[in-house]
């Protein structure tokens, strides 16, 4: 006997309830934990693909009876891994503005930057055009979106293009939101060596 619409306060049944058509709830829905091969929430005819709850505070995702990942209190763990250290716990993208922190008080004619942070890895890129300057201080650029830890072995940078006469690399500095520019012999590139030059840099570091 079909019902057009029913409204009840509570249904209790020890047997299965089957509904043809859509079901909507204004309250919460509580389901069993399920298993990797019999998901708590799945589509008809495919019970080993869906969402299940392998432990307290865990939400698991399975396909074909295999766990592909889970959300834990540490973040997103892939496959069957549950290690906190391996959990992906952050993703963010945005912009940042490089500034001269060499002490020369330079104003870059162009200074733009973007960043993407995935877990603890930061990928920050920038385009800078130096003003005309004869200042001999070491070039030093601040404004990085995230500060490096005081001891950080994962800090690399490269300059994809600089129309200066020096071959150089960018080096994020420990404990600071800034980077300098070093020649291949390790010495610093000066502001005057970058006078009027265009600089594209990519910084990669962990936080």
């Amino acid at each position: 006997m079909p019902f057009g619409s029913i409204s009840v306060d509570e249904i209790t049944s020890s047997n299965n309830i089957s509904v043809t058509g859509n079901v909507s709830f204004t309250g919460n829905v509580t389901v069993g934990a399920g298993t990797v091969s019999n998901a708590a929430i799945s589509t008809t005819g495919d019970p080993n693909t869906g969402i299940f709850f392998p432990a307290a505070d865990n939400i698991g995702f399975a396909t074909n009876g295999v766990i592909r990942g889970r959300w834990t209190t540490d973040g997103l763990c892939f496959n069957a891994d549950t290690a906190a250290a391996n959990a992906l716990d952050d993703y963010e993208e945005g912009t940042w503005t490089p500034t001269d922190v060499s002490g020369a008080g330079l104003s870059f004619s162009t200074a733009v930057g973007i960043y993407t942070k995935i877990g603890r890895m930061v990928y920050a890129s920038t385009q800078i055009i130096y003003p005309s300057t004869a200042n001999g201080s070491s070039a030093l650029i601040g404004g990085l979106p995230f500060t490096l830890p005081s001891t950080n072995v994962v800090r690399q940078g490269f300059i994809s293009y600089v129309n200066a006469s020096v071959v150089a690399r960018a080096l994020p500095e420990d404990g600071q939101p800034r980077f300098d520019i070093r020649k291949t012999d390790g010495t610093n590139v000066t502001n005057s060596e970058l006078s009027g030059k265009t600089l594209f840099a990519m910084l990669i570091y962990s936080v």
Partner: protein, 84 residues
């Protein structure tokens, strides 16, 4: 349909060496619903002027950037300047 642009400091973080990291969120709000958000980040090192910052950022900097923190940060800068 009312569109509104909101700019707010939505995250203030203090890291180990005393640098204050500030995230500014720019949101486009339509009839009360956020339909777009973008972020901009900047940092304030110990000893750096923060007088033009958001009031909450000023308060954090004032509490964090003590003379001791500023001195240690300067020492760190000097250590780094000696490295190649």
């Amino acid at each position: 349909m009312a569109l509104e642009k909101q700019t707010v400091v939505d995250r203030i973080e203090v890291v180990e060496v005393g640098v204050v990291q500030v995230r500014t969120a720019t949101r486009i709000v339509e009839d009360g619903n956020v339909i777009s958000t973008s972020y901009h980040r900047h940092t304030i090192a110990p000893g750096q002027d923060y007088s033009n910052e958001d009031d909450r950022v000023k308060a954090i900097c004032a509490a964090t950037h003590t003379q001791e923190v500023i001195t240690k940060y300067q020492e760190l800068l000097e250590q780094n300047s000696l490295r190649t």
